[in-house]
């Protein structure tokens, strides 16, 4: 690892145990026969799930996970589009629990959000979910109670389509990415409240100052430090919770355990990637294998060939790969801040393992991330890494990274903006004047010039010399029959104060804000403006929204969008199902701190 920033004693901690996942890994697969990659599969019209504590040992220390059917991840539910399903969920935990079917269109009462749609499932009780399946694709399900997601309560959900998918594959695996900590999640949150950079071991130091001064000159380096210091912001704020406490898992297995999927040379393999992490954005690649993205958030997209993709928390991507050599390939998913990685292997035989690439340099935020527009021409940023250098490399290689970015920015951003915000009346979701956010105790920044950034791969990726998926490339397979024309726009500012470690919309927590009212049947545009310096994977329950990414009547449908810092993005959907729908940042600790609203459709 070129960027070993943690004490060497952390190695086992980062890598996990070779035999880990521990009990989860050796959990006897129920006699249902079928399993995908070692994860049990449940199918049929009636399914029984039990939520209970389960001992695990990921890092060498015994801990208690909250597990579904005694497994982490829980069993794959494999159901068919067009069927009805009944799912009995029995809570054997000591606390109230719930299951939310992430990205699934269903009646509000079945959405599984304690407080909004029901009171949760009390200990010892069984709740029966019953809903028709009206969509196909890769989704997931998880607890919507407390911090249970962080402690292992998540699982894949597959709806097989009525009409075959428009792509072919010989074999499929589910790749569930997650983050595990041995700490109590409440302790993690409490630590962040006392010291918001508690888990950041990539902070700027005297050493990075000397390096930068050598590279960029003393004057420029001092100027750069003064600029960030005056704002009281750190460009190294990439993730709040990092590899300093997390071990990153694939299908419940830490890197050392090397979860392995077998294939025969030449086969086309469908990999269903699901980011079930509480807080971690992953950048995924399989060195020397091109990835063909065929589905995003459960909806098929025109195939895009790429080398790498970023998967925000709660997103899913389905990828086709076709390895032709008789060897092992490494699935490498580095955390966005490069504090660690999840790793798995595709191999022709058990026991093989491929080379593990070194992590990229830790990225730095820029003025664009502060919402000050694209200042790349006069960028002072150059910090303790080679991001600028690799930018150059990206252009040299002519890859779709930096070079395409500028093209996209000039063409697309205008289109997105104009299409996105024109004509229709716009109101603030919380009923505030966004101008009033300046100096607000819970708001540390306001994006003065928020941009359309869907043509960028994102912090740490642009210009890395590889082809990296961008949202602007996602194009729905099916054109919209009736293009959605919003009659009204509702604007949300994504706000926070990194120093106080507070998060919300429009400077307010859930408990301080009124619900957002949408009329039943109304087509509405949500405009998200990210004032913070971090990505927020924003998730709307109950609906799939069109992301205004410039693809005309082929805009992709998604349930979660990872909004970049300083970005403005438009989402359009028709509110065709009544009820109280959760709308929130899917970073679990941000959600818990109130970056959450109820959208009341009535």
């Amino acid at each position: 690892m070129s960027h070993q920033i943690v004490p060497p004693t952390r190695r086992r901690f980062v890598q996990g145990l070779a035999a880990a996942g521990g009990l989860a890994a050796v959990t006897p697969v129920a006699a249902r026969g079928e399993a995908i990659g070692g994860i049990p599969v449940l199918s049929g019209a009636r399914i029984d799930l039990t939520l209970a504590e389960m001992p695990v040992n990921i890092t060498g220390r015994r801990r208690i996970a909250t597990a579904i059917n005694n497994a982490m991840p829980g069993p794959i539910l494999r159901l068919r589009e067009g069927d009805d399903v009944t799912i009995n969920v029995t809570n054997r935990l000591k606390e109230t629990s719930s299951i939310h079917w992430h990205g699934v269109k269903l009646p509000n009462a079945m959405d599984g959000v304690p407080g909004l749609t029901f009171a949760g499932i009390p200990p010892g009780e069984t709740f029966t979910y019953h809903f028709p399946i009206v969509q196909s694709g890769t989704y997931w399900y998880h607890s919507h109670s407390g911090m249970q997601e962080q402690t292992g309560f998540f699982a894949p959900l597959i709806f097989d389509p009525k009409k075959p998918d428009p792509f072919h594959y010989d074999r499929e695996y589910v790749v569930v990415l997650s983050d595990w900590t041995d700490e109590d999640p409440m302790a993690v949150l409490s630590n962040l409240k006392q010291q918001s950079d508690y888990y950041n071991y990539h902070r700027r130091t005297l050493g990075t100052f000397i390096n930068d001064a050598g590279k960029n000159g003393l004057g420029a380096t001092i100027q750069d430090r003064l600029m960030w210091g005056k704002m009281r912001m750190s460009p190294t704020d990439i993730m709040d919770v990092t590899g300093a406490t997390y071990t990153f898992l694939v299908n419940g297995q830490p890197p050392a355990a090397n979860w392995t999927a077998l294939f025969q040379s030449g086969e086309r393999i469908r990999l269903r990637f699901i980011n079930s992490a509480a807080m971690t954005t992953f950048d995924v690649r399989i060195p020397s294998l091109p990835l063909t993205i065929v589905q995003a958030d459960g909806t098929n997209v025109e195939p895009v060939e790429t080398d790498e993709f970023r998967i925000g928390v709660a997103e899913t991507y389905d990828v086709i790969v076709q390895p032709t050599e008789d060897r092992a390939y490494t699935i490498f998913a580095q955390a966005q801040d490069r504090s660690g990685y999840a790793r798995a292997t595709l191999a022709t035989r058990p026991g093989l393992s491929g080379a593990i690439p070194s992590m990229d340099p830790p990225p730095l935020r820029t003025m664009a991330d502060m919402g000050m527009g694209d200042m790349s021409g006069m960028n002072m940023q150059s910090g303790g890494d080679s991001s600028e250098m690799s930018n150059m490399a990206g252009m040299d290689h002519g890859h779709a990274g930096a070079a395409d970015k500028s093209a996209d920015m000039s063409g697309m951003s205008m289109q997105g903006m104009e299409h996105g915000t024109s004509a229709v009346p716009t109101t603030n979701a919380t009923g505030i004047d966004p101008g009033s956010l300046a100096g607000h105790p819970m708001v540390d920044n306001i994006a003065m010039m928020p941009m359309d950034r869907q043509g960028e791969a994102g912090t740490g990726l642009d210009g890395n010399g590889r082809r990296v998926l961008r949202y602007s490339q996602l194009k729905a397979v099916e054109p919209e029959e009736y293009p959605l024309e919003a009659t009204r726009a509702i604007e949300f500012h994504l706000t926070g104060n990194m120093e106080r470690w507070t998060w919300g919309f429009d400077g307010k927590r859930f408990s301080e804000a009124p619900p957002v009212a949408v009329k039943l049947g109304e087509t509405v545009r949500f405009i998200l403006i990210n004032d913070t310096m971090m990505e927020h994977p924003i998730h709307l329950h109950g609906f799939l929204f069109r992301v205004e990414n410039g693809q005309g009547n082929r805009q992709p449908l998604k349930h979660t969008i990872n909004v970049k810092p300083g970005e403005k993005v438009g989402l359009v959907y028709t509110a065709d199902t009544p009820g109280r729908w959760a709308f929130h940042c899917h970073l679990m600790y941000h959600m818990e701190m109130g970056m959450f609203r109820t959208v009341v459709v009535a």
């Binding site: 920033i5 004490p7 959000v113 304690p114 407080g115 909004l116 749609t117 029901f118 009171a119 949760g120 919507h144 407390g146 949150l189 409490s190 630590n191 409240k193 006392q194 010291q195 508690y198 071991y201 990539h202 902070r203 700027r204 130091t205 005297l206 050493g207 003064l226 210091g229 005056k230 704002m231 009281r232 100096g439 607000h440 105790p441 819970m442 708001v443 540390d444 104060n497 120093e499 106080r500 507070t502 927590r509 859930f510 408990s511 301080e512 804000a513 009124p514 619900p515 109280r580 959760a582 959600m591 818990e592 701190m593 109130g594 959450f596 609203r597 109820t598 009341v600």
Partner: protein
């Protein structure tokens, strides 16, 4: 004599309330139109922490032990803050300033604090009403400024500041400064009017974990004016440059 305490304490608290925006908060956890079955998230939980920034021996002409700590409990908007500090040398405790404050954010980086201070050490005790501001100044300086009004009609002020200079991710150099001012002489506490004393230090800590960091440092304490004169009269020194070793810990 008691009059001024009663006069100043309400003054501080009233000012806090005036400055604090009145919040139309919904009942936490209760049903609302947004959440008829109760709150989906607990977004204003109470946290509590206790940090000892200084827990150290000071070694020079005299040896002494000094602590300075700050605990808090509360939510983002409402916190109770306990500040404690003191010095013990030769069995005598000095500078035992204990404060119990209410803190509330007034801007992105600053909090107002108001409450009580009691000087609890080997000298006669003094009660004060306290009112001040604390926060993060540009360039990441932690600063606080507090004014005090005593039950004896005295005024006082103190300024504090520190800065964390990251040498590496775990090796941190912290310069720190603290100054005290008094409006009147208080001979029984060996204090003279004006800038009475200054305590400054430079500490190099190694964060074995974020919460457990041993350090070494040098500290310089000096007294001014009548305070210095009173110290010398008592057979002490007006200033001391000492080596220190200690622990920075928090819970």
């Amino acid at each position: 004599m008691k009059r001024s305490l009663f006069a100043t304490l309400p003054f501080g608290l009233v000012l806090l309330m005036v400055v604090s925006p009145v919040q139309a908060q919904m009942t936490m956890g209760g049903p609302s139109d947004a959440a008829p079955f109760g709150a989906p998230v607990d977004d204003a939980p109470v946290f509590y922490h206790l940090l000892f920034d200084q827990l150290e021996g000071r070694f020079g002409r005299d040896a002494g032990f000094r602590w300075e700590g700050e605990g808090w409990a509360g939510t983002d908007m409402n916190r109770v803050v306990l500040k404690t500090e003191g010095t013990v040398s030769n069995g005598v405790m000095e500078e035992g300033y204990q404060q119990l404050l209410y803190a509330r954010p007034i801007s992105t980086y600053f909090n107002l604090q108001g409450g009580l201070r009691y000087d609890l050490d080997s000298a006669p005790g003094r009660g004060w009403a306290a009112f001040g501001i604390e926060g993060l100044a540009p360039l990441f300086f932690h600063v606080s400024a507090t004014g005090y009004a005593s039950d004896q009609g005295h005024w006082a002020a103190r300024l504090e500041g520190n800065y964390d200079l990251m040498l590496t991710q775990t090796l941190i150099l912290q310069p720190q400064l603290e100054m005290n001012f008094y409006s009147k002489d208080d001979p029984s506490r060996a204090l003279g009017a004006g800038l009475s004393d200054l305590d400054t230090g430079l500490r190099l800590r190694y964060e074995i974990t974020r919460k457990f960091a041993p350090y070494i440092g040098v500290t310089y304490e000096t007294k001014f004016g009548d305070t210095a004169r009173l110290a010398r009269l008592a057979g002490g020194h007006a200033s001391d440059l000492r080596f220190s070793a200690g622990l920075r810990i928090w819970f």
